[in-house]
Each structure stands twice: as structure tokens, then as C-alpha cells.
Point group: C2
Chain length 401, copies 2
């Protein structure tokens, strides 16, 4: 356990979080409509041939290809049409030499036929069909199993389900699939001064902001946030809250991680489990706590809304995605010049919220307590610990929210 | 109304869709936790000052700044500590000259104090506090209204709600917000040969794929898909289905748009409303229908799964986002060289599914009926109508799924 006096570098903190967060093992069966962004538990094997029968790829006439070999634009071949087969029908007649059967797209190829001549290449009068094109055997026929062969593996375990993969499951007739559960993450707001939204604010109170920003970030990254009622920063209250949320896969607290006397979170985490770090060389976000209770990762986020939000993106988002088995989020980044010179703090990795206006990055960060510095921001820039001045016009990488 | 014989170019089709889809006007009130990706209906004005009172930004001692002016690293000033105020408390004592009150982060500044000296810059013994730093008035105090002033506009109508904007709403104590409703889009699978997933496949039947891929695309783009039972491609059945789904904001049918005799969709749409186009110069996806019934846009998608899927991205996704008032989707695009030469069709804008392997684009498109050509694909490339050969090694833009 490190005392808050000795801060660890950002990279080390990120590595420690990653090392202590494990992908979820729990699985569940989910209907097709809810499978987007979920992760497949096992290989999916086809139980059928797709298409399940030889079928027509066009509207036209099922023929023996050989009957058309003499046909051409100016010398049609005439065939007797002996029936109709529509999609969904089981053909009752056969195609014999000199005959054809009218067929629609998707319909089963009748026995005796080996090709379909497109309706555009024919002319019909009564039961006589003139064919103006010669076609080879197999023309406009989708063969049974051509798309997916029975017993072949069509989707792999660990695959991220997108609309097209969901289409593959539907093609095989699956109405659901087994996927990894979305991690359940408890969000516990702490602090006697924190009031629930929707209530009257008493003197000395502020509304709970952080549990809502953290919950939104969790939802966007494959987790199910479970919002705990506000608890006081006392050993008893926090211990009780951990007890109540012990079924969760991860626990995130907002507030209760500064150096103050009432900040007992670190003590409670040490008692129930272990503190991995407390204090990171970043600004804002310095008093961040990370620990484990059993195998459950616990984050103690700083109480300042901006600090809590950037921490949410820097620490919680990668942890949530790893636990949910989602691929790491490719940050959307934009390179723009700084609008003004900015004097940074040497020795701390700094996150600075900025607004992009007129193609330049304007710093909107005021102090870590201000919500407007996030409301007006398009994203944030990072300033490494060894940089003290960011000059006007210098290109910076804006991580878009 | 254009006959299918005369196809319109892709760009014209996209323009016609855009011109006939209107942003949704319906609104609803939604709790904070579900506000992600939703669009605010009206400006949000702050009903309170944030912070609602002068508060401490640090753990330390509330002081009269003037009392510290003589303090320094080697010449502390000594003050009498006369009380404690924790976050959430209403201070009961005043700070007078020569005294201080212990204060925690977020707590109200007691009367008489105008600054907070950080605990790190003090040393305490009993009721005596030694201050080792001189601080100016206002130091470590967040002023009432400094962050958000009462009555100021903090969020604008039309704003897309992200975790940080949700945090702003929470800061003001709102537990919900009025946002535009998610458009309700009916998805109607058509065709006698189409069977519902999860059932036994009868001879001559295939499983319904398209309504699942289309529903997934709709869900990802801010709409609520409503899956209609499978209907036959008859005038009566389609007319009934339109009647049942008349409360929807948009209607999408899969299948029923080819040139075949049974494809009566166009007739039904003309009767109930109007057909805007039928037939686009693209491959796959040529027989796409678009029309209006009243002011409700109606898409008739091709029955082939790949055609239906690419159409879902090319036509439905932008329409869904416009209706949902979401910003157009920035396609994620990757530039890679073609792995092999590909001979395209002159005169038609072609969508070709590809897999990216070894840094090259491999064509996986087999024919528009094959689901595997999507299952194995990472995205698609577009080949304009005036290109007939795409050479090996040529750089192509892959639109990632």
C-alpha cells in the first residue's frame, strides 16, 4: 500500500488496473434483437445447409440448359410451360426435354431442371415460352449448401456481434445465442453533502453528479450500472455498502478519496481486501484509489466532477471494456493547434478539457470542480509530466468525448 | 413513378430519401440513466447556482487570508482552531481574526473566512494550528455560482447527450430531461418461403434473415425496431400489414421488390401513397423501392441478404439517423490495397464486401444471396459506375461494418 504522498505515474496506474481486471466468465442466452455489441461464448456450427435446397436466383423459367444451347437473340427456342413454382412452394411437376416451369426468385428448382433462364430473356404467349438466350447448366441456380454447409463453423467464439453476424445466426434459424453477460457494476455515491437529483437541495448540499456520468460511461462500454443510494463517508456506512453490492463484478465509488480526515475509503478497502494504489501523478484525478475486494475491482474516484469524468474515461472505460470482453475503444482523436499558450504543472500528467472552435483547441478547464468545463468541452488533451508550457499554435491531440 | 427498367443513380436515390425523411417531432421525458445518445428538445436553464454556496476546494482550515500574510516556510503563523465544518454541514461558528475553522473539501465556507489554507501547509497541536504559507483572499474557495450561474443556459436544444452533458443535468438536480422520441420503425418480412427463426424449416423455406439485420441496424442508429410477423407478398396481406403498422414513423420491408409477378409491393405503395423510386443503379440492391404512405417513408428492400444489408447501411442508416435527429454517422474507413484484380460491372455502382487480411482487401462477395459473404467481411468497398477493372494493388476505401 502506497501512502498518498507517493504518487504513481499514469502508465503504472493503467497497467495495475489492467492486471487486476478479469474478463467476465458469466454467460447468458439472449434473443437476436439484443445481441448487438455482445460477445459470442462458443463457435457456432451450422445445423443446416444454406440454401437448404437448390433454388432459383432469378424470376424466370426452370429449364434443361441443353434445351437453350441453340437459342439466340434472333433465333429463339420454344419451350412448353408445364407449371409454376413460387417461392415457398414444393414443386409437384418435373421439367422434361422441351418443357419449362415458370419459377420465381427463391423458389425450389423442380426436378429435371438444371438452370433458370431469366424472364427478361424470354417471351411468353399462352403456354409457349420463347427463350432468346443460351445458358449453361447451373445458370441462376443457387446450389444447396453453397452459402453455408451443414456442420461448418460460421462464427467463432469471442466474436463481437454486429448486424451482419446477427444475420448469420438468423440464417441458421437461431432465435438466440449464448453470449457473455454484461458485467454488473455498482456505482456508489458517497458524501454527506451529496444530494440525490430530483430532490430539494438543503443548505450545504450539492447534487450527485458523478454517479450519473460514471453510469453513462459504463452503459456505453458494455456494462450494467447499478446505482446505490448515497452513503456517508464513514467506515460503517461504506462497509455496509460493500456488503450490499458484493454480488457485483466491479464497484465504483465517487468521492471519499481525498486526504481529508473523513476519507475512510482506503481504510475500508484495506480491511475488506487490498489497496493496489492510492494517488496518481495526474491532474485532475490525483486522489484516485484502486483496489480489490476478493477478485472484485474497486475504484474510488475523486469527488470533483471533471476529475471523476476524465478518470471515467482514462481508468474506468478500459476496465469496463476488458471485463465486458469488448475490444479496446479506438479513441476518436483530432489534431488541432492550441488557440493560446498554456502553462502546465511540471511533474504531473495533466488532462485538460478543450473546445474546438475555428479549428483550434481552446482550454475550457477552469478547475477540477467545475461542471461547465465539461459541458462546454469537445474532448480533452493530455500534457505529459515533463512539459511545462504548451505554446500557442502547437499541434495537440484532442480525444473527443 | 419510374418503371424498374429505368434505374436512377445512387446519388439521386440518396437525395430522394433524404428529401422525404423528416426529423421526428414526438418528444418524451426520460430518466438520466437512459439519456445517452438522445437529443435535447429545448434549452436547459440552471435553476440554481453551482456551487450553491461558497465552498472549500481543499481539506484544510478556513481562515481570514490577511492572517496568513506574514506566514512562510520557516516562520509559521499560529491560529486558534475554533471548530470543524464537514461537507454537508451548515457552519455554526464564525472565523474571527486570529482564529480558523477546520474544513473539508466541499464544505461551506464559514462566515468571516475568505480563504482556505491546505492541510499540507499546516501543522496542528491541540487547538493550535501553525500555518506555513501565505495565501491571498479567495484561495481554495469555489465561489457560489462560479461554475453555473442561476438562470444561465447550460445546454442547448438539439444537443446530443453524452456522459458529460448528463452530468450537467445532474449538477442542476434534474432527474430526467425532455428528449425527442426514438422513431418507431416497423420491419415487415415478406415472402411465402420465409420462415421465422427458431422454428422447423419446411421444405422450400428459408429462415428470415433480413428483418434481423435491419432491426440491428435500426437499433444502432437511434430507432426502435418493431418486428412484424412474416407476411405473404399479396396485395391483401401487404395492405393489411401497412394498416397494422400505420402508427409507425417508418416502415421497412425485406423482399418483395424484384421484378417478379408476385412482387406486388410497388402496387400497394402506389395505391396507399406514392412510389418515389423503384430501381437503383447499384449492385447488389437494384430492386430497391422507396415511397411515402402519408408522410411515412416506406422502404422495400431486396430479399437477398447481402443486398439488404448493404442497403441497410447505404439508405436506411442515414434515414434512421436523420429521423432520430442524430448526426450523420462518420463512416470508419480504412485505405488498403486490393489483394487481387477485380472485374466490375460497368454502369452500376457496385458494393463489394471485403475482408482485410495481411493489410489487403480480399473480395468475399460471392453473389448477393450469400450470407457468408457478409459473415466473413470486415466492410465494403464501392466501385463507381464508370470503373470496370479494379487493379491488384490499387488503394481502396473500406467502409468498416
Amino acid at each position: 500500500m502506497k501512502p498518498l504522498g507517493s504518487l504513481i505515474p499514469l502508465a503504472e496506474a493503467k497497467t495495475l488496473v489492467d492486471a487486476n481486471v478479469r474478463p467476465i466468465e458469466r454467460v447468458e442466452t439472449v434473443p437476436l434483437i439484443s445481441l448487438g455489441h455482445r460477445i459470442l461464448v462458443r463457435d457456432v456450427r451450422s445445423t443446416i445447409d444454406v440454401p437448404p435446397y437448390n433454388r432459383s436466383a432469378m424470376d424466370g423459367y426452370a429449364v434443361k440448359a441443353q434445351d437453350t444451347f441453340q437459342a439466340g437473340k434472333f433465333q429463339p427456342v420454344e419451350l412448353d410451360c408445364v407449371g409454376v413454382v413460387n417461392a415457398g412452394d414444393v414443386p409437384t411437376k418435373k421439367v422434361k426435354k422441351g418443357t419449362c416451369i415458370q419459377i420465381s426468385t427463391g423458389a425450389m428448382i423442380p426436378e429435371g431442371a438444371d438452370a433458370v433462364v431469366m424472364v427478361e430473356n424470354t417471351e411468353r404467349s399462352g403456354e409457349k415460352v420463347q427463350v432468346f438466350r443460351s445458358i449453361p447448366p447451373g445458370a441462376n441456380v443457387s446450389k444447396q449448401g453453397e452459402d453455408i454447409r451443414k456442420d461448418s463453423i460460421v462464427l467463432r467464439e469471442g466474436e463481437l456481434l454486429t448486424p451482419s453476424k446477427i444475420g448469420v445466426l438468423a440464417a441458421l434459424g437461431f432465435k438466440e445465442a449464448e453470449v457473455y453477460s454484461m458485467p454488473r457494476v455498482s456505482v456508489i455515491p458517497t458524501g454527506k453533502e451529496v444530494a440525490e437529483v430530483g430532490r430539494e437541495l438543503r443548505k450545504g448540499q450539492v447534487f450527485d453528479i458523478n454517479s450519473h456520468t460514471l453510469s453513462s460511461i459504463l452503459l456505453e462500454n458494455g456494462c450494467v450500472p447499478v446505482l446505490h443510494p448515497i452513503v456517508e463517508d464513514t467506515t460503517e456506512a461504506l462497509t455496509d455498502a460493500f456488503g450490499e453490492e458484493s454480488r457485483s463484478d466491479m464497484i465504483v465509488l465517487s468521492g471519499g478519496s481525498s486526504a481529508g480526515e473523513r476519507d475512510v475509503l482506503e481504510g475500508v478497502v484495506s480491511k475488506l481486501g487490498k489497496v493496489i494504489f492510492h494517488g496518481v501523478q495526474i491532474k485532475p484525478g490525483k486522489p484516485t484509489i484502486f483496489g480489490l475486494i476478493g477478485s472484485t475491482p474497486v475504484f474510488g474516484m475523486p469527488g470533483y466532477p471533471t476529475a471523476c469524468l476524465t478518470n471515467g474515461y482514462v481508468f474506468l472505460q478500459p476496465a469496463a471494456r476488458k471485463m465486458a470482453r469488448l475490444p479496446p475503444k479506438g479513441d476518436t482523436v483530432q489534431m488541432v493547434p492550441m488557440a493560446k499558450k498554456y502553462a502546465a504543472d511540471l511533474g504531473r500528467h495533466q488532462f485538460l478539457t478543450v473546445k474546438i472552435k475555428g479549428g483550434e483547441a481552446h482550454v475550457v478547464f477552469k478547475e477540477s470542480g467545475t461542471i461547465t468545463s465539461i459541458a462546454n468541452a469537445d474532448g480533452w488533451i493530455e500534457i505529459p509530466p515533463n512539459v511545462d508550457i504548451v505554446e500557442k499554435g502547437m499541434m495537440v491531440e484532442v480525444h473527443l468525448f
